[in-house]
């Protein structure tokens, strides 16, 4: 248990550093890349959960994450195409991807109730982190109004996901 807590702590440090690294205002192509990457990370996490969990609530939550994040990323792709913006990889996207890879490795070793709890706890933490970044950095930095609008819809969607994850987490206890 102690080990798991310290691993979660380490993940938090990486994610906190993610926001710090992005202290320089990101450009629209970078913002698009960060938002899209966050969506892909959560779709991958959902697929992992669906391959491992036997809990109906966790499976339903993971299905919802997969569908919603795929749908919002389709909207993002359509928008960048329309705006002729080429999403641009950047240190924040890279840090997010690295933290997600580490987390996937960690979750992959768990099973049963331990997996369910760790997956859902990470979903709460991940959405909270992304929501903080959206509210304090990405939305205020976005120059294009349509991109800003999509990010605002994304924030409402992900705030919903965070609450949904919190409900599932409470039911697992």
């Amino acid at each position: 248990m102690k080990t798991r807590v310290s691993v979660l702590g380490a993940a938090w440090l990486v994610l906190a550093a993610t926001t710090a690294m992005a202290a320089d205002k990101p450009t629209d192509p970078q913002i698009a890349h960060i938002a899209y990457s966050a969506g892909v990370i959560d779709v991958d996490a959902a697929k992992l959960a669906l391959s491992k969990t036997k809990n109906a609530d966790v499976a339903s939550f993971a299905q919802s994450m997969q569908k919603d994040h795929e749908a919002v990323n389709e909207m993002a792709l359509a928008l960048v195409k329309k705006l002729n913006v080429q999403p641009e990889d950047n240190p924040t996207s890279k840090a997010l991807a690295k933290a997600a890879k580490d987390k996937r490795g960690e979750l992959g070793k768990l099973s049963g109730a331990a997996f369910d709890k760790a997956y859902v706890a990470n979903e709460v933490a991940f959405h909270k982190q992304v929501n903080d970044a959206l509210a304090t950095l990405l939305i205020p930095s976005a120059q294009n109004n349509e991109l800003k609008g999509l990010l605002e819809t994304g924030l409402k969607l992900f705030q919903g996901h965070q609450q949904h994850a919190e409900h599932v987490a409470a039911a697992l206890k």
Binding site: S64, K67, D68, A71, V72, E74, M75, T153, K156, L157, Q159, G160, H161, Q163, H164, H167
Partner: protein
Amino acid sequence: MTAVILDRRQVLGAGAALLMGGEAAAAHDGTVHVTMEKLVFLPAEIEVKAGQTIEWINKDPFAHTATVKGGWEVMIPPGKTATRAVAAGDTVEYYCRFHPNMKGRIKVSA
């Protein structure tokens, strides 16, 4: 056939009322429309009579629900609509189970 045409016109009428910012979400046929768009129930509060129908119109690409804690649930898939016949005891607060930050309220008047 006539019924279908009438129905469509009334839906459009309700939509126009919403666009004008009016609170006239109730159509004359006893159906009250609630739109779900960008993760908001619009209007968030409706007043209905028992026996009327509530129709939720999901304009989002995400599945939503109208869920009453410990009570009924209506599932509205992306881009679809779903209905519920109003019961006398339906003065309730409801939310979307997938996005619990979406909240609505139904008041049943006599």
